[in-house]
């Protein structure tokens, strides 16, 4: 593994394919301390960079737009949106599914990759988990505001009330309440728990009292004790094992919202795994969209390496193909079923009034990822970035196609309709991006965006004692050359 001169940036390239050598997960001359410096340095910059302020101003303004739209909606009525009778779920639900989908990558990277011993996760998991939380916050807003009487949303919880009534546990919307609620809670726990040791690092480096106390409080008095680490690791493993089926379940439950119905185009048994694959797909796309500029701005190329990006590109390719397989299976079965309504729904998707949405979806989700077959293209961050944005667009359209095109033409042709969003719909959607980025910017400014303790644990220096142990994970390589402590 080359650790070449500073002028030569090729040392950043760890995308080699030699099967006998594991790519290093951290490149360059890094030791434990330099990792701490690099990651904490982002948070510890005494002056907030102007670019941050500009972005923050934009995103917080958009957040205000979101709140204004919600205010208008609540005071006026759902009618301010473009909904009508065949299509009585529109942007709000599309956005909900979109954001929840994005919110899957974090826990996926953390939990599933953890269980699969994909050590490259350590550089990106914190970041992705943060993104999960913010996406789930955005997602959580939509089912709340999309109901006709927002002020009664608490009726969806099984709270004893004076009507002596309980919610209907047969409804998938109630499952959603539990699934998304659990998911938000567990993701938050997972994120926070993983952050405790890093918060302690920030505490121990604090130069001001406020920082000392703030991070001190948040890190709960973590003192790096190995007896604590032991339970911590076990708890982390358990949380990962719990979060993995949870991730699957949450998007499955979201898919049940559609799949339990009897609407053609909604009632499809493949929805649960297909939604999960789509969620992973869109989640990774969003991580890539965010991480490429972030690593550039903060100079994290040595920790979030080219290999990381390449791995994510491959996962996007794989999940994109899964989604494509699901599209074609659905199409095939729609014909095979011999069910007139089912068959028409799919014909209508591809050639009806919403064909534009359908083909946007297919192009972005199935065609675009094909460029990742090329090693050169997937290792080009600019190409990857653009592709990831297109995939985000495509995944939004996937939900749009499912929700809107299916509803717009169901059983009785006399009730067919064509849904058009209003400006309020659009601004609410745009506003949710404002909220997402506001939270994201705050995260980048105040919390450690890379799990330092975990990155250190996969560095070669951490395993000097046990040569045999180099085996697993996507690191190892010749230790001798990389011994730079």
């Amino acid at each position: 593994m080359s650790t070449s001169t500073a002028a030569d940036l090729s040392y950043l390239d760890n995308t080699g394919t030699d099967p006998a050598v594991r790519a290093r997960l951290v490149v360059g001359d890094n030791d434990f301390h330099s990792i701490t410096e690099k990651v904490c340095g982002i948070v510890e910059q005494p002056r907030t960079p102007p670019a941050w302020w500009v972005l923050f101003a934009i995103s917080s303004s958009l957040t205000l737009v979101l709140f204004a739209m919600i205010g208008y909606l609540v005071t006026t009525g759902i009618g301010v949106w473009g909904l009508q009778v065949p299509v009585s779920w529109g942007y709000a639900i599309v956005n909900f599914v979109f954001w929840v989908g994005i919110g899957h990558a974090g826990t996926l990277i953390s939990a599933i990759l953890f269980l699969l011993r994909q050590r490259w996760r350590t550089s990106i998991n914190r970041f992705a988990e943060g993104m999960t939380i913010f996406a789930v916050v955005c997602a959580g807003i939509f089912p709340g505001i999309h109901i006709g009487r927002v002020w009664l949303a608490y009726w969806l919880f099984p709270i004893p009330n004076q009507m002596l009534m309980w919610p209907n546990f047969r409804s998938p919307l109630l499952w959603d309440v539990f699934a998304v609620g659990t998911y938000a809670t567990v993701s938050l726990l997972f994120w926070y728990m993983g952050m405790i040791p890093d918060l302690a690092s920030l505490r121990d480096r604090a130069k001001t009292r406020i920082r000392y106390y703030a991070y001190g409080l948040l890190s709960l008095g973590w003192r790096s004790s190995n007896r604590h680490w032991h339970r911590f690791e076990f708890a982390y493993l358990l949380l990962a094992s719990l979060a993995t089926p949870l991730v699957l379940s949450v998007h499955s439950v979201v898919s049940f919202d559609f799949a339990v119905s009897i609407m053609p185009g909604w009632h499809t048994t493949i929805f649960p795994p297909y939604f999960v694959a789509g969620a992973i797909f869109s989640g990774f796309a969003m991580v890539v969209t965010l991480i490429i500029p972030t690593r550039k701005i903060f100079g994290l190329e040595e920790i979030i390496t080219a290999r990381h990006l390449e791995n994510m590109a491959k996962i996007m390719l794989a999940t994109g193909m899964m989604v494509g397989l699901a599209y074609s299976t659905e199409f095939f079965i729609a014909w095979y079923s011999g069910n007139r309504y089912e068959a028409f729904t799919f014909l209508n998707r591809a050639f009806g009034p919403y064909a534009w949405a359908y083909w946007t979806m297919v192009t972005c989700n199935v065609v675009v990822p094909q460029i990742f077959w090329s090693r050169r293209l997937r290792n080009n961050p600019a190409v990857l970035w653009v592709a990831s944005i297109l995939i985000n667009v495509g995944m939004w359209f996937e939900r749009f196609v499912i929700v809107v095109s299916s509803l717009s033409r169901d059983y009785l042709p006399t009730s067919w309709g064509y849904y058009r969003p209003t400006i309020i719909d659009v601004l609410t959607f745009v506003g949710s991006f404002g909220l997402f980025f506001t939270l994201f910017l705050l995260f980048v400014r105040f919390l450690p965006i890379i799990g330092m303790a975990e990155v250190k644990g996969v560095m070669p220096q951490a395993h000097l004692d046990r040569p045999g142990h180099r085996g697993h994970g996507d690191y190892h390589g010749d230790i001798a050359a990389s011994e730079v402590v």
Binding site: I147, G148, R149, N168, V260, G417
Partner: protein, 410 residues
């Protein structure tokens, strides 16, 4: 109104504003394409474009009296039509969207199974002819069905006698305090009718919209059919719609939080949502016109046909006071009461002698979308026709087509 074929000839699109000129006078009207309108003929409605009709009537539509002359009070000849290229949105409660080719074909194909018909000859030859195309496995659930005891309300609509006059729609609207939402909301497809008359055109198969010369109309009044296994009920998270003991698919307005999930999962799309507070700006006197027996729905709740539950309860209480059982035919929902041809029968399905039960026995009786195992409580009696030439309507593949059956005709 203009036939699609004529429109194609003239190069005029649906909803386009056209200038009609006759005898040097002209008016500008939007075109509404209607299959079945005779070729090269137009129909315009008198009575619109009034200036002193009060708040409701002023400025609605176009006054076509300028075209009318003493010499030709009803039929004008030699009218010239010129498209203007501008268009006008016609508010209709059906066909909210211009139909594309695949949608057009699909509608034609579906109409035959939704609205069933047969010729008298075919029916006499085989009374079950209208079920000839039911191909579905036995309607059995994966769980043990409930036993329904006591009165079980049901309805039968005879398509043979229904003339599609829309009186039921108006009666329902008056009885159940259904808001009048206005043109804009209708354009946004948010009309509130609990019962509507679904209209399909029967055309020759294989024609595209522009080629349709002639069309017959079939129609079907459609309200909530109170499915036994109602798809809407199970998806409601707050149990705002559930089955009553007497089989009504009840809507609990003050429990409804407005997720609209029930509407999505309703195959008939008969549920209506209060997108706004439609009662907000009504005059005191208008409010006093409301039926005090029926709740006025708030903003953000779903509503739909109740089988006139207020009437059911009133009769039930009366019968209980008189210590007698309810008589068949005693309870009459507003739509049935108003129907000029008595096409709607209402009664107890658990009572074998009731009119509605007897109508179930008829071979003509069928339930729309029965293959979904939703067990609708409203059944339809298929329409029989006896065309003079013995040919015409094949029950089989229905042929319908598009057009406009508008509430507003410019």
């Amino acid at each position: 109104m203009m036939s699609p074929a004529t429109a194609t000839e003239l190069g005029i699109a649906d909803g386009e504003l056209v200038e009609l000129e006759a005898g040097g006078r002209s008016v500008e009207l939007p075109v509404c394409l209607l299959p079945g309108q005779a070729r090269h003929s137009l129909a315009v409605a008198l009575g619109y474009g009034r200036t002193a009709a009060g708040q409701v009537g002023n400025g609605v539509g176009v006054d076509v009296y300028p075209l009318r002359t003493l010499a030709a009070p009803h039929i004008l000849r030699g009218v010239s039509v010129r498209g203007t290229g501008r268009s006008h949105a016609l508010a209709t409660t059906q066909d909210h969207f211009a139909i594309d080719t695949i949608g057009f074909a699909e509608r034609n194909a579906r109409a035959g199974t939704l609205v069933r018909e047969a010729t008298l000859d075919a029916y006499l030859a085989d009374p079950h002819v209208i079920h000839a195309h039911d191909h579905h496995p036995p309607l059995i659930s994966l769980w043990k069905d409930h036993e329904y005891e006591g009165e079980q309300w049901g309805m039968a609509v005879d398509l043979n006698t229904c003339i599609g006059c829309n009186a039921c729609v108006v009666a329902c609207q008056a009885e159940n305090n259904i808001p009048v939402v206005g043109r804009e909301q209708v354009l946004a497809q948010r009309e509130m009718h609990w019962i509507r008359v679904d209209r399909y055109f029967r055309t020759d198969p294989g024609l595209t919209m522009g080629e349709v010369e002639d069309a017959a109309v079939v129609f079907q009044p459609m309200a909530c059919v109170h499915c036994e296994n109602a798809p809407c009920e199970q998806v409601c998270p707050v149990a705002a719609t559930q089955h009553t003991r007497d089989g009504l698919n009840a809507m609990v307005y003050n429990r409804c939080v407005g997720t609209r999930y029930c509407s999505n999962n309703c195959p008939f799309k008969v549920r209506r949502f209060n997108f706004f507070n439609y009662h907000k700006e009504l005059a005191e006197t208008t409010m006093m016109q409301f039926n005090p027996e029926v709740t006025v729905r708030a903003r953000g709740v779903m509503e739909k046909c109740t089988f006139c539950v207020q009437r059911i309860e009133a009769k039930r209480i009366a019968a209980r006071n008189e210590r007698r059982p309810l008589r068949d035919g005693e309870i009459v929902p507003a739509c049935a009461q108003t129907c000029p041809t008595r096409a709607i029968t209402f009664g107890d399905l658990n009572d074998e002698g009731s009119a509605v039960s007897r109508s179930r026995e008829e071979p003509r009786s069928y339930a729309t979308l029965a293959e979904l195992n939703i067990r609708p409580r409203t059944h339809y009696l298929a329409r029989l026709s006896n065309p003079a030439d013995g040919g015409a309507p094949a029950h089989a593949e229905g042929h319908a087509d598009d057009g406009a059956h508008g509430k507003e005709s410019a």
